[in-house]
Every structure is written in structure tokens, then in C-alpha cells.
């Protein structure tokens, strides 16, 4: 038997379950229990479900798949009851001219725009749909939409296709729109991570619906209520970091005991994301819980700045932490993080924690898959 409490429609839910769902949403958007009635009335009083269009540019469709596989909210509740999704290339029945008509109609209904994938700004022919380039579609959809949300690392920062030498000139939607020839005052909410987390999207949409404004954003356009904390701060292995218990190489005793992954390349100390809180697969697990060091996928330019993914954080070129140019205020934040970390690690080294059990092992050879 399927879990009927989870797949019940919002409007058909018992009052108790509906209020439960609203408190869940309140937690997501960082509001306290007093906000629950406010959220409930915002959802109930919405005369019609908020229309949403979801476009795909240069992307792998992973964010779409993540949404379709989300367990909380159940996609059936989300797609049939909470939002009115009018256009989503990967999941829509219509195709060709019918699909284009759906996009147009939904935008006329006052849709929010969720963008997946990067804009091919250096090679317009590298991304077209319906004969239009990603630049044309981005400007057109942005100007007609009620609000814009970029989901996933491609749409926010360009992701791997924007790493050196960036052959197609790929860039995030917000960065493209604010750039030359775009829309200077464009406001795009960035929800990075690879893939983008469905809870981030639901939380942001609910926030906009309840508060009738965009959430507070950090220097990189990410909502602070979701991206205000480092992975390091909410990490379930943090206790082992404090205790100086580190995995030295994959498969060692520390791995089995789920110790801190810092020495095998975890980028949690410089990555802002709520992975430790809302996890993946119905909050079952996430990279670090599975023994995989964080690659920093929620930060700008992590492919170039954070590689190799299996080596320690101090190898990151600090001047370009998170790809933020030195001239911007963002550097202040990144710099503070780096400085904070420096002090943190000096403290650790002095107290002998970092080098417990001898100097750091050479971890570079442990992921090559061969037998020693």
C-alpha cells in the first residue's frame, strides 16, 4: 500500500495534516511556529495555484530528475496541488509547437520562472530551443515572468561547462542577465548545488508566496535562510573534526568509524549549503554521510578552485575562494571564512589535533581504484 498520508492532495488533506505540512514548510523557510497560520492562509487563500514555467538551457536535466524524485514534498502533491507547472521540457506531454504554446500561455497567466542550465553566452548556437538562443529565451522569459529562480549549479554559476577553458562561454542566468546587453536590474534567486535540491525550490516559492517579496540574498544571490551556514557548521561528522579524528585515506579505520573527511578533500569548511540539514533521498543520506568528501558544488567556480576534490582545503587558491573577485564585497566574506579557518586550523595544529597519529598521509593515490 502506498503511503496515502504523503500523497494526499493539499486541498483534500485533513486539517491536522495540512497544518503539519505548513509547519514543515515553515521550518524550511526559516520561520518559527508562529508563522504556521500565516503560511496556511497564504496557501489556502491563493485563488489559483501559482503558475510555474521550468526552462532547460545547458544542463544535464539532473535538477528536473531531482524534483521528480523528491519525497518531501511528494511530486504528486507538488505538481497537482501546490503549483501549476505549465512548461517543463523533460516532463511535459506537449511537444514542438504545442510546448511553445504552453510556455507562452503559462507566462501570460503570471508565472514564476525556474531556470535550469547555463546560458551559452560565448557560443549562442550551443544552446537553442524552438530556434531561439538561450540568451533570447532568458531575456524574454525573465521580462514576462513574475519572479526568477535559478536552480542548480549550472543555472546559478555555470557549473562544469564554465570551468576552464569554458568553450561555450557558459554562465549563470543571473550573471548573464545583469551583464552587457542584458537587464541591469535583474533579480534572480540562486539555488545552487548539483543537482538543485527540490526542498530549496519549494521553500523559496513558499517564502515568496507568504511574504510577497524575494528572500534576503547573500553576495552570490543565494537565500541566506538556506545558504547562510557552512556545510562544516551542520555536519554530522563535525565532532570528529573537533576531536582531531580524521579519515587519512579511503577505506582506513577512520572511514569505518565515520570520522572527519577534511584530510581527504572535504570542502565543507568553505561551502555554504544546507546539505547537512535537508540531506537527500528523503533526508536519508548525503555525500558526507556516505563517506564522500564535499566537493563544494554550491560555490561558484568549484570545478577550478576546489580541484582536486580528494585533497585538503589549504590547496584552494585563497585569493579566488568561491570565485569571488577580490574587488567585491564577497571577497570580504570569503576572506573572513579563510581567515577564520586559518585561526581554526592553527588552533588545531597547536593542540595537536590535526596531526594526531602522525603527519597527513598522501591521499592522492587512494582513489585510483587499483589494488596496492
Amino acid at each position: 500500500m502506498p503511503d496515502t498520508t504523503r500523497s494526499s492532495p493539499i486541498r483534500g488533506l485533513s486539517r491536522r495534516d495540512f497544518v503539519k505540512y505548513c509547519s514543515y514548510l515553515a521550518t524550511l523557510i526559516g520561520m518559527d511556529a508562529y508563522a504556521v497560520p500565516e503560511i496556511a492562509s497564504a496557501l489556502e487563500e491563493a485563488a489559483k495555484k501559482p503558475p510555474v514555467v521550468w526552462t532547460n538551457f545547458q544542463a544535464c536535466t539532473g535538477c528536473t530528475v531531482a524534483l521528480l524524485q523528491s519525497t518531501a514534498p511528494d511530486p504528486a502533491v507538488l505538481l497537482l496541488q501546490q503549483i501549476s507547472l505549465g512548461f517543463m521540457e523533460t516532463a511535459m506531454a506537449a511537444t514542438g509547437s504545442g510546448a511553445e504554446k504552453s510556455l507562452e500561455q503559462t507566462l501570460e497567466e503570471g508565472a514564476y520562472w525556474v531556470g535550469e542550465g547555463s546560458v551559452a553566452n560565448g557560443m549562442p548556437g550551443a544552446m537553442t530551443a524552438g530556434g531561439k538562443t538561450s540568451q533570447e529565451i532568458a531575456k524574454e522569459v525573465y521580462s514576462k515572468a513574475k519572479g526568477a529562480i535559478a536552480i542548480g549549479s549550472c543555472a546559478t554559476f555555470g557549473n562544469c561547462q564554465a570551468s576552464k577553458p569554458n568553450p561555450t562561454g557558459a554562465m549563470g542566468i543571473g550573471a548573464y542577465l545583469k551583464g552587457p546587453g542584458g537587464i541591469p536590474d535583474a533579480a534572480v534567486v540562486n539555488l545552487p548545488r548539483c543537482p538543485g535540491h527540490p526542498e530549496d525550490l519549494v521553500a523559496t516559492l513558499t517564502y515568496i508566496l507568504v511574504n510577497a517579496k524575494l528572500p534576503e540574498l547573500d553576495a552570490q544571490g543565494r537565500p541566506t535562510f538556506l545558504y547562510g551556514q557552512l556545510i562544516h557548521d551542520t555536519c554530522e561528522r563535525r565532532g570528529h573534526f573537533e576531536a582531531g579524528e580524521f579519515v587519512e585515506s579511503f577505506g582506513d579505520e577512520g572511514s569505518a568509524k565515520k570520522w572527519c573527511l577534511y584530510k581527504v578533500g572535504c570542502k565543507g569548511p568553505v561551502t555554504h549549503a544546507p546539505c547537512g540539514i535537508n540531506r537527500w533521498n528523503g533526508r536519508t543520506s548525503w555525500c558526507v554521510a556516505a563517506g564522500g568528501p564535499c566537493t563544494g558544488c554550491a560555490e561558484d567556480n568549484y570545478w577550478d578552485d576546489f580541484q582536486p576534490f580528494n585533497q585538503e582545503v589549504p590547496n584552494i587558491p585563497m585569493a579566488g575562494v568561491a570565485g569571488v573577485p577580490i574587488s567585491t564585497i564577497g571577497w570580504g566574506l570569503a576572506g573572513l571564512t579563510a581567515a577564520g579557518l586559518g585561526v581554526h586550523f592553527i588552533g588545531q595544529a597547536v593542540s595537536g589535533r590535526l596531526f594526531k597519529g602522525g603527519p597527513p598521509a598522501d591521499t592522492g593515490s587512494t582513489t585510483k581504484g587499483g589494488e596496492a
Binding site: P2, S84, M88, T90, M92, A94, G96, G131, T295, G369
Partner: protein
């Protein structure tokens, strides 16, 4: 002779444009165009080989695992690794098997089924199953809301072919 263009071609990973040449109601020739390029072959150059799978998995978000495992296998071959540890082999097989299971469901029900199943027809279905009735109610609300929806709007239902 007429030409029919289908673009965007939906329910696939990525982007596609199909051009058909039609004569007397029959397709006599057809061309497909991939309308999205990212350049994996270019930006994966000069990276550490053991990092390749991180990139390869981003080729396709519908089927990331085989891309990742194949990148690992290719890297191992290039490095002359003849045998991987048994646990590695087992984990890879489990990943591939679970991937096949989930991917088949996604591919068939979400990407393919709309070509064979007329969704709005479900409104006429006669059933007593309470769950199906609840689903029918939801679908009815969607279909009669006047809002554009991915499940019911603008599809060429019931292909005569």
C-alpha cells in the same frame, strides 16, 4: 513537399530538433539536430584522471551512474589497472542495478508514457478504487482549472499512426 519541424522535442534529456520531409502525408526523410553543446571533450582535458568521473556524471542527469562508472573504468584501463578490489566491483554492480531499476520507471512512466496514454481520458474512467478516485479528483481539478499544465495542455493526443 512539406517540411515539419518539431522543436523543442520534449521528454528527452537535453535538447533536440527534428525536421521531417513529408510527401502525400508520409514522412520520406528526417533529420535530427542536437541543439545543445557544452564541450566535455574540451574542458575535461588536462584534469587529473581520477577526477574524470565527476565530470562524466554531469553528461546526463537522467542516467548519471553509467557515465560515472564508465569514466572510472576507462581511467583504470588507461592506468593499466587489471583488477579492482572485490568490494569496488560489488558496489559498482549494485549502483548499476539500482540505476537500471529507477531509470526504467522514470523513462517509461514519465518520459515515454504520454505518447501512448491519453491523460485527459482518465477523467472518463469508471472505478471504485478510493485511491484512483482521489487521483481522478486531482486530475479533474487540474484539467478544469483553466491553467496551463504539463499533464493535460497542448498535447496532440491519440496519434492516429
Amino acid at each position: 513537399m512539406a517540411k515539419v519541424v518539431i522543436d523543442p522535442f520534449t521528454r528527452i534529456e537535453g535538447h533536440l530538433r527534428i525536421t521531417c520531409q513529408v510527401e502525400n502525408g508520409k514522412v520520406t526523410d528526417a533529420w535530427n539536430t542536437c541543439t545543445m553543446f557544452r564541450g566535455f571533450e574540451i574542458f575535461m582535458r588536462d584534469r587529473a584522471p581520477e577526477q574524470a568521473w565527476h565530470y562524466a556524471m554531469r553528461i546526463c542527469g537522467v542516467c548519471p551512474t553509467p557515465h560515472g562508472i564508465d569514466a572510472v573504468t576507462a581511467t583504470e584501463k588507461a592506468m593499466g589497472v587489471e583488477r579492482v578490489p572485490d568490494n569496488a566491483r560489488l558496489i559498482r554492480n549494485m549502483l548499476n542495478a539500482s540505476m537500471t531499476g529507477y531509470d526504467h520507471i522514470l523513462w517509461f512512466y514519465q518520459l515515454n508514457a504520454f505518447d501512448y496514454v491519453n491523460i485527459p481520458n482518465a477523467l472518463k474512467a469508471k472505478t471504485t478504487d478510493p485511491e484512483l478516485l482521489a487521483l481522478q479528483e486531482q486530475l479533474k481539478a487540474v484539467a478544469t482549472s483553466g491553467q496551463t499544465d504539463i499533464f493535460v495542455s497542448n498535447m496532440f493526443w491519440d496519434n492516429p499512426g
